[in-house]
């Protein structure tokens, strides 16, 4: 199961690098007008640790693994493997969902950290290329503006996202009825629903953190 994480690593990494560049570029183009380019560092650091890191990772994983979960379980329903588990007096949910859930709870925070790192480094690279800010200065500023609280809220989010992705994927799989075409449809539904729910949950979390004064 941990293979999920290792294989998703390049995709998450590249997405984060791109997003880091985008954020830095957008930030720089706006902030330059106020001559406040050094705030780009804050923008990238806080944006990634709180928001983009967990969210991008969750969307990447829901696309890769959410669909894979539902397809795997859906085909087990079609081939009567789920029925076989039940006749062996083994709870299919325990047997199939639990290990995936556990793996996702480990993998998503790890990927989120990697994603944060990639995004922030990409921001640094951009600053190095576009302005004359040295990489070491950038890193020092990053450390300065990075708050433990931000990193932790990001990781809490990623745990919630993991729960959503695994449960939506697996439940879509268990709901498969009929033939192989239903498996394909369930995979699509799993991605659509889990992406939607991830963003909804993110909104909820951000609102909670905002209202509880974390700013």
């Amino acid at each position: 199961m941990l293979v999920v994480g290792v294989e998703a690593f390049p995709m998450v990494g590249i997405m984060a690098v791109c997003a880091g560049f985008i954020l830095a570029m957008q930030g720089a183009s706006e902030l330059r007008r106020f001559g406040a380019t050094q705030f780009v560092v804050d923008l990238v650091t806080i944006g990634f640790t709180r928001e983009l890191g967990p969210l991008l990772t969750a969307i990447a994983v829901s696309g890769r693994s959410g669909s894979a979960f539902s397809a795997e379980i859906g085909s087990m329903v079609v081939t009567e493997e789920i029925d076989a588990l039940r006749t062996m007096a083994i709870d299919p949910v325990d047997f199939v969902l639990a290990p995936k859930f556990l793996a996702a709870l480990i993998v998503l925070p790890c990927l989120t950290i990697i994603s944060n790192a990639c995004g922030i480094l990409a921001g640094g690279l951009f600053m190095r290329l576009s302005t004359d800010m040295a990489f070491s200065v950038y890193l020092r500023d990053v450390v300065h503006s990075m708050a433990l609280r931000d990193v932790m809220t990001g990781l809490v989010k990623s745990l919630a996202f993991a729960t959503i992705i695994v449960h939506v994927g697996c439940l879509e799989g268990f709901r498969v009825h009929g033939g192989p075409d239903a498996v394909g449809r369930s995979a699509t539904a799993a991605v659509v629903k889990s992406t939607f729910l991830v963003i909804l949950a993110d909104l909820g979390f951000t609102a909670i953190f905002y209202l509880t004064g974390g700013k």
Binding site: E80, T87, A89
Partner: protein, 275 residues
């Protein structure tokens, strides 16, 4: 096997009473009643789509009937507690129509799975028991392979080995011979006969192969249009004069192709200028 001595021979192990199952208002099973006794091999016969697998799913408690009841070993499947159902399921081995082996595990691990889940046996004991079950079905040297590397017949035999792993009192087998060549199908028949002799199991087999049914059955039940039209020994079925049973036994097709209509259509087609 355990429990076989204390009970009277006349009490059915599986008792199906007036079971009705319908999908979208269409009765697939329309008030079925059937008793299966300890140590007998019951073969469920019937055409494709006649509801054989549906009846089997009722017997193993995978689905609930709309009305009627299924009682196995004195326990009503619809009313029992999850605990009782679990216990009951451990005394039943089921081999599904398409084997339903887990592709992510080796054949050996598939067979060992119920033991690992339900017993506290040491790994070495489990390995030995697994090997013995595989040997019973003639797959002793294939344990390390993945199910995908087995042929259709081997998969079915592996599914039987897995069904046997907890030494069930009842073995349920959906379509052992479907899609297999006659030699492998015959081997599976012999396997079922051998298992029954060796372990005095109650066996329920679904098939539409008459030859296989006659070889292994103590009694047979024929499903047609949601009802059982005959239950009895092979002699009783052979003597029956019910037109559907005769049709099944004598392999008469339902409708003969209407050659006259085809000729007429063909003539019209040739004469018309639609080409």
């Amino acid at each position: 096997m355990a429990g076989a001595l204390g009970e009277t021979a006349s009490a059915p192990v599986i008792s199906v009473r007036d079971v009705v199952v319908s999908y979208d208002a269409r009765h697939v099973l329309d008030g079925i009643s059937l008793d299966i006794f300890r140590g007998e091999t019951m073969v469920l016969l019937g055409g494709s789509g006649s509801g054989k697998s549906t009846l089997l799913r009722q017997i193993i408690g995978l689905e609930r009937p709309q009305s009627g009841q299924v009682v196995v070993n004195g326990v009503d499947l619809a009313k029992c507690t999850p605990r009782e159902l679990k216990k009951l399921r451990r005394s039943m081995g089921v081999a599904f129509q398409n084997a339903a082996l887990f592709n992510s595990m080796s054949v050996e691990d598939n067979v060992a799975l119920p033991l690992r889940e339900h017993t506290l046996l040491a790994e070495s004991t489990i390995r030995l028991m697994t090997w013995m079950k595989l040997a019973v079905v003639g797959l002793a040297e294939f344990g390390k392979l993945s199910p995908q590397e087995l042929s259709g017949g081997m998969k079915k035999r592996a599914a039987v080995a897995r069904a046997l792993s907890l030494d069930p009192e009842i073995l349920v087998f959906d379509e052992p011979s479907a899609g297999l060549d006659p030699i492998v199908a015959a081997e599976l028949d012999e396997l079922i006969l051998g298992l029954k002799q060796a372990f005095n199991m109650t066996v329920v087999v679904v098939t539409h192969e008459m030859a296989s049914a006659f070889r292994i059955a103590d009694r047979m039940a024929m499903l047609y249009n949601g009802s059982l039209i005959a239950v009895g020994t092979r002699e009783e079925l052979e003597r029956s004069s019910h037109p559907r049973i005769r049709q099944f036994l004598d392999r008469v097709p339902d409708k003969t192709a209407d050659t006259a209509a085809f000729d007429q259509y063909f003539q019209e087609y040739m004469q018309g200028d639609s080409v």
